[in-house]
Amino acid sequence: MNQINRLTGGQINRNKELNFRFDGRSFKGFEGDTLASALLANGERLMGRSFKYHRPRGVLTAGSEEPNALVELRQGNRQEPNTRATVAELFEGLEANAQNAWPSLRFDAMAVNDRFSNFLTAGFYYKTFMWPKPFWEKVYEPIIRKAAGLGSISFEEDPDLYDKGFLHCDLLIIGAGPSGLAAALTAGRSGARVILADEDFRMGGRLNAETLTLGDASGSDWAAEAHAELASLDNVRLMTRTTVIGAFDHGIYGAVERVQDHLPQTIADKPRQILWRIYSRKAMLCAGAMERPIAFADNDRPGVMLASAVRSYVNRWAAAPAQEIAIFTNNDDGHRTAADLIAKGVKVPAVIDVRADASAVVGAELLAGAEVIGTEGRLGLTSVTVRLANGQTRKINCGALAVSGGWNPNLHLTCHQRGRPQWNADLAGFVPGPDLPSGMSVAGAANGQLSTAQALAGGAMGAVAALNALGIAAKPAELPQAEDAPIALKPFWHVQGGKSRAWVDQQNDVTVKDVRLAHQENFVSVEHLKRYTTLGMATDQGKTSNMLGLAVMAELTGKTIPETGTTIFRPPYTPVPMGTMAGRATGKHFHPTRKTPSHTWAEEKGAVFTEVGDWLRAQWFPRQGETHWRQSVDREVLQTRKSVGVCDVTTLGKIDVQGKDAATFLNKVYANAFAKLPVGKVRYGLMLREDGIAYDDGTAARLAEDHFVVTTTTANAVLAYRNMEFARQCLWPDLDVQLISTTEAWAQYAVAGPNARRLLEKIVDADVDISNAGFPFMACGEITVCGGLRARLFRISFSGELAYEIAVPTRYGDGLVRALMEAGEEFDVTPYGTEALGVMRIEKGHAAGNELNGTTTALNLGLGRMVSKKKDCIGNTLSERSGLSDESGLRLVGFKPIKAHDPVTAGAHLMNASGEISATTDQGYVTSACFSPNLGCSIGIGFLKDGANRLGEVLRAANPLEGQTVEVEVVSAHFIDPEGERLRA
């Protein structure tokens, strides 16, 4: 059986025969076919099953609006559910399977649902499955979920690449039918920057599907010539296989280009699809129109198709849906179908026209004033039953029925910014309203200009208007003679009094009966109708069904269609692969990776890395024989406190603050005072939000009267900089302050431990005095190291040891860490990572991210005295609100386990020594905890109600989540060297 329904002609390449498989069977087609056209050419009408009743279904349309012919395309990790056979280009070896059918497409066991359809009416599930209570999750829902859904996924990672891109143009033209091509020719010749995008792989739109002539050329030839000319203009970008999916604010459009979906294999390093963000100054919607069906009994059988689709298959793809095709229409378009079919030698047993005054058809019997009241055929149409004008019925044998209920303009994108369509009585349809997205105009059938001549003129004139508005001179392209038939249509939506169900939404199995029930139960608002019946909620988003649903509801309410409601659409115009929307920023490349200056060196040392924001930081440096991370961390801590350790602290934010008002400025952004900080000194600083909550801390080093270097936490580097710019530009615009981030410019290392000075003395140049007297605690300065390299030295300590932070230009950071390690050998220096850093700061009781959690004040942190009341600074006023200044509120304290081996756990909640353990008895919580190798036990810090006055008290740290409750003693958060003698040593 090889292409028995293939006709002559068409725009397919008969020299390139392609093999493909559908539902396990092999077929042949031609280059230029879609999966749907190739299947029809092979006499295959059955292509899918419906969502709810699993009714046999064939193609209804020839485009992206297809509700029925959905297949699983490709295999394995490229398996692609719900692909429309009507837009899937045929390629050699294409493999597709039917979906939502078991065991097979021809025999689907779930079709039994159809027998019970009377019980499965709209919204039936809201009225039952409620008893017994646990049964919903345990019994009913699992069954429903298994039955529901359409295609399936492979659960394997998608191997393909997806790109993003950005384009700029004067005029974006959406759709390359007659109006789009006329617009593009006009704009292209004017020299403007033009983008012409069309979802089809061949430009021309309906011109490729009709037998109309433009001038003395066929429509498709004229389109091809227009395409050729446009391709020769380098100010015009032609984008086929590109769907404009959304109209966003201010002329930005989203477009999806399918780069490789039509290829058997994807080419390495090339994207499968590209999501383009198009910045347009003006845009023209030339998206044409979609034919709409008529509802009648059993109108969903394979073979019942839209007349325009039948013409597309016959004219463009030379594929006859059947040997005998009857026509059911309410307008002259149906007659055009008859003429085309007859010209192709397809038998047309009858043209059934609801209009009593319909004009005769040459070569086919006209049944004027007749209606189709039923169809027959289990897996495909065999005949239709017609009620004649005189009331008699007649059966007409046919393998397909071409249905034409009129046309709906494709105005979807005009609604993407909540624009409302308007009713047009001539079309009996909606046309774009006045509230279009800014910069957009609409031309051609999309604007209700249905004849080819109108479309051409509309496109050309529209382009002229758009360009003139941009101050670009343009004159309309001269246009060929073209068909200009008026709309001759009798509004007709569904055949009354058919015995069985008439489908409105074919994919979701919504019938006229369901709409009636919705009306009966007062779900009459369009939105209620949609949600209650699921009308228009399928993968075609109601492109072929919404109007019909509206019309039926209008009949029931006795209102007009526009009174009943409008159909409004949201992006995307057609479904878009989630991978395309994601692009390349996935997996390992979800975020950029920030590496510290010592990264290469740390890798050599076998460091274990951890994510800190986008940074990768060394977490610890395992040594030979260390089998557990704790061994490494404990060693790093002990060695640092005993001798000296080195840690890369480059990730801290660094902001250069200059200007003669720099000190005044810092006085305002820090809670504590900075005005009097001497040059050459560093001071710890606390930043508050305006609501009085502490959000960041760090240091400010005064390198000169008018020059500070501010450090922020790694996490808040961006926020603090933003807030400082806000203060500088918006709050105190006439302070002489200049800001710039230097975070990345300097590689900075902490050198900590009793031997820190002795180590550094071997690094800093001879003329630099870093003796305790010459460079005391909290000193800073610009110095030179390693024989003349500019550097910065800060004597600050996070670990609580004698410590410095030394900075050099980043490119020398790798060299410096190697130099420090070498110089430190004699002191058995150790590098330490973020874990040891954390342990030492907890031992020292320094607050960090876990404590600065966005809900704690300086008071909570035990830094209440730091907040200067003598000056204005961000946050000080609101920090005095009663709720934030409760004297017996949370205070930062330390915790030690009563039983030495008990763990203190961050996230545990504090409870009194005895009594109930519950939310109502909550006394606070542990924010940070670790094992302290110096104290030989687990310790923690955290917030405790009235903590300052509860030192020595025994509490329970409750961690029910992990089934542990341990007794802890409340102690000072400064576990080590509370007097700070070490750091001043």
Partner: protein, 416 residues
């Protein structure tokens, strides 16, 4: 008329002629005891509980469009009680317990499905925070489990464990959390309220309040003046617009939250999962569509639509977490207007105007709160005392510094 499987069979055999309207479309009366402004989930629930639990005789719900058309009809259907702070715990604990009994109470199948919610953690600090939260949940009588990487893998083997920028280090599992068929909630409450005599009046927009000597006497509407002993406003994203008509300013902003649904698929995602390293959360509807969302669009807006950057951001996160979704198609996006409060927590309170009450500030967590919000608002309006689980939701809490800031973001509504 009561719904049941038997009833369906009876109707099926008799041509479905017996089904009655789910709710009436009455003409507004001149005077009510209580008028609720806003026919969304919270407004309808409030009316239902006023009628069913507080025996309030004459109640009306005024809706400017069609009921259930606000956020209850455009959300990602998640219900949960996984809160950290005092002010929220007991409230959401009650709400979740009410969800568990809702269908029998309403005689309407809202498909309450406790499929479990998993919040992933990717760093040690996140695990510490999850532990604190999980313990808070358990201490408040909710359920929580802390999973390690393998525990997560057992539930969601197809997540990105191998090639992740931010490896999955575990997660906080809340088994009683889940999803509910959002439209059914509005319809179920509407039907329940209607059956108890509540007038649900659609296409009736409130244009002003009649306030005399500090007391609210009723509302001006597009269908005339409607008198009321008490007026309660529950209009979510429109809160500022409506309360402004009463001369009140509110500590909240209106922002758009986009949500997305994919084409229908055979079962993929068993529960609800939220990514800890990006903006993405996802579940699968009974119909088969993946329902997912991320962050708000960040700028104040009343337009129920968003822009591309957020869509891309959400999908970058989504595919980074679940690479197997690459070829699944995004079908539809929509936007709901969120009443983002200054600390991310809601208000259920009296206003300075006697007889005028306010319910709002739900940010994007309003849906899961619907039952408790309705009950507490009804309680407040019926008794003039706050319900015990909603005491903290005061309008003046920022004056006194009693913020309820779960995220610790401060007075920046778009960050909550």
């Amino acid at each position: 008329m009561a719904y049941s499987g038997l009833r369906i069979i009876k109707e099926a055999l008799s041509g479905h002629k017996g089904w009655k309207p789910a709710w009436r479309d009455p003409e507004p009366k001149g005077q009510y005891d209580i008028v609720i402004v806003g026919g969304g989930g919270h407004g309808l629930a409030t009316a239902y509980y006023l009628a069913s639990r507080y025996q309030t005789a004459k109640v009306a719900v005024l809706e400017k469009g069609w009921i259930g058309g606000g956020n209850v009809g455009r959300n990602t259907t998640i219900v949960r009680s996984n809160y950290l702070l005092d002010g929220n715990q007991s409230f959401y604990n009650l709400s979740l317990r009410m969800w568990e009994d809702l269908e029998q109470d309403l005689n309407y199948n809202a498909m309450v499905s406790q499929r479990g919610i998993l919040n992933l953690v990717h760093t040690d600090a996140q695990r510490d925070a999850a532990r604190r939260r999980g313990n808070a949940m358990l201490l408040a009588g909710d359920d929580a489990e802390l999973l390690d990487t393998e525990g997560v893998r057992a539930l969601y083997p197809f997540l990105n464990f191998e090639n992740a920028r931010f490896p999955i280090k575990g997660g906080l599992l809340h088994r009683r959390g889940g999803t509910v068929r959002h439209d059914a909630v509005a319809w179920g409450y509407a039907r329940g309220a209607d059956r108890r005599g509540v007038d649900i009046i659609q296409n009736c927009e409130v244009t002003g309040f009649r306030i005399e000597s500090g007391r609210c006497l009723g509302v001006q509407t597009t269908r005339g003046f409607i008198g009321a002993g008490k007026v309660g406003v529950a209009v979510a994203g429109s809160s500022s617009r409506v309360m402004e008509k009463a001369g009140l300013r509110l500590p909240l902003e209106s922002h758009v939250l986009q949500a997305f649904v994919s084409e229908g698929l055979k079962p993929v995602i068993p529960g609800v999962i939220t990514y800890g390293a990006g903006h993405f959360y996802c579940s699968q509807s009974d119909k088969g569509g993946l329902v997912f969302g991320g962050d708000i669009d960040m700028y104040n807006t009343y337009a129920q639509r968003g822009n591309l950057p957020v869509v891309e951001d959400v999908l970058e996160s989504g595919i980074s977490l679940i690479p197997a979704l690459g070829r699944v198609r995004l079908l539809r996006s929509w936007g709901g207007i969120m009443d983002m409060s200054m600390d991310g927590s809601p208000f259920i309170d009296r206003t300075p105007i006697d007889g005028l009450y306010f319910n709002g500030g739900w940010c994007y967590g309003g849906f899961k709160a619907t039952p408790a919000s309705g009950l507490c608002f009804a309680h407040l309006m019926a008794t003039d005392t706050p319900h015990e689980v909603a005491r903290a939701y005061r309008l003046d809490r920022f004056r006194t510094g009693h913020m309820i800031d779960e995220k610790g973001q401060g007075a920046q509504p778009n960050l909550h």
